[in-house]
Symmetry: C2
Subunit: 189 residues, 2 copies
DNA sequence: TGCGGTTTCCTAATGCCTTTAGGCAAACCA
DNA sequence: TGGTTTGCCTAAAGGCATTAGGAAACCGCA
C-alpha cells in the first residue's frame, strides 16, 4: 500500500484548514486521519496526542497573526498603524475562524513563552510609540488594546453583533477612532 | 433502589458547579451522572442531550451575571457605575471560571434572544446615560465596553497577564479610568 | 390500604473518538 | 540487492453520547 507521506508539518497545516472549515472544537485526530485517508492510529507517530495537535495549530495561528501584524505595522505609525493592526486581527478572525479560536487555546507557561505570543505584545508596544504615553502606563495600554481587539473579534465571531444595526464594520472603525483618541489623551493618574 | 431525585434544575446547577471545578469543556453528561451516583443514560429524561446541558448552564451564567450587574448599577451613575459594573464581570469570571466560559457558549438566535443576553446590553446602555453620547454613538460604545470587559477577563483567565508586572488589578483600574475618560471625551465623527 | 398508572432510573447496545502495542511492507542506503 | 529503518496497518481497551426497552418506586384514588 502506497504511503500517504504524513509529516507533523503537513498534519498541522491540514488541521488548521480543518479548523477553519468545521471549527476548532471539531478538530480531531480521527477527522484529520480521514482527510489523509489513513487510520487514526497512524498519526501517533507524528503527533504525541490530540492536545499536541491542537497546541501546534495554536502556535501556527499565533505566528501567522504576528507575521501579518508585523507586515501591517511596517512603514506606518500613529492612528494609521493602530487601524492597520486592528484590521489584521479582525480580518484574520473572519477569514480563519478556526485558526483564530486555536490562537486562544490554553498553552502551558513555557510553550506560551516560546510562542509568537510575546511578539504580539511587542507589536502592540510598537504602536504605542506613535503616542505619548509614560512608560508606567504602557503595559496598561497594551492590555487594553489586546482586550479590545480580542474581545470585539471574539464577540463578533460568536455572532454577538450579527443581527443588529449598525453594521459591525462601522462599529469597528468608530472603536478604532475612539482608541486613537484615548491614546492621544491618556488620562493622568 | 432509592431514587436520586434528579431534576433539570438540580442537574444544571450541579453542572455549573462542575464547570467551575474542572472547566466548562470537561462538563460531560457522564461526569455529571457520576456526581449524582447515577448512570449517564438516566440524565436523558431531564436533558435533551449534551448540548442542551451546556446551553442551560450558559443561560444560568448569563442570568447570574446580569443580576449582579443590575445590583451593581443600582444607585450609581457615571464612573462609579462603570467601575462597579466592570468589577462584576471580572469578579464573576475569577470566582466562576467555568460559568463564565459557559456564558460564551454559542447559542442559536432564538435562544440568545430569549436569554439574559439582551439585559447585558440594556445594562451597558444604562451606564452610558451617565455620559453625554449622541444616540448614534451609543451602540458603538456599548460594543466597545462589552469588548473590553470580555476581552480583558478572557485574556486574564487564560493566564495572559499572569506572570508579568504590573499587577492585573492595577491594569484593570487604570483601564476603567481610561474608559471613563474616553466616554467623557468621545471623539466626534 | 391496596391498585393502576406514571415516572424514574437501570441494563443493554451501538457508534465514534483516543491511545497503545505489535506487525508487515515499502523505502532508503550501503 | 539485502538489511535496516520507518510508516502505516490491525487489534484492542477504555471513554463519552445516545437510544430502546424494562423494572422498581412513587402517587393518587378507590
Amino acid at each position: 500500500m502506497a504511503r500517504a507521506g504524513l509529516t507533523t508539518e503537513r498534519l498541522v497545516r491540514a488541521g488548521a484548514e480543518l479548523a477553519d472549515e468545521v471549527g476548532f472544537e471539531q478538530v480531531t485526530v480521527s477527522a484529520l486521519a480521514r482527510r489523509f485517508d489513513v487510520k487514526a492510529a497512524s498519526l501517533y507517530s507524528h503527533l504525541r496526542n490530540s492536545r499536541d495537535l491542537k497546541t501546534r495549530i495554536a502556535l501556527l495561528a499565533l505566528e501567522e497573526l504576528a507575521d501579518r501584524g508585523a507586515d501591517a505595522l511596517a512603514g506606518r505609525s500613529g492612528k494609521e498603524a493602530l487601524g492597520a493592526f486592528a484590521d489584521v486581527y479582525r480580518d484574520y478572525a473572519l477569514a480563519h475562524p478556526g485558526r483564530y479560536t486555536a490562537a486562544r487555546y490554553p498553552l502551558d507557561a513555557e510553550t506560551a513563552a516560546a510562542s509568537a505570543g510575546p511578539r504580539h505584545t511587542q507589536l502592540t508596544r510598537a504602536i504605542l510609540r506613535g503616542y505619548d504615553l509614560p512608560e508606567s502606563e504602557q503595559t496598561h495600554a497594551v492590555r487594553l488594546l489586546g482586550s479590545v481587539f480580542h474581545g470585539y473579534v471574539s464577540l463578533e465571531s460568536a455572532g454577538g453583533f450579527a443581527h443588529s444595526a449598525p453594521d459591525s464594520r462601522e462599529s469597528w472603525t468608530r472603536i478604532v477612532d475612539a482608541l486613537d483618541s484615548l491614546l492621544r489623551n491618556w488620562p493622568a493618574r
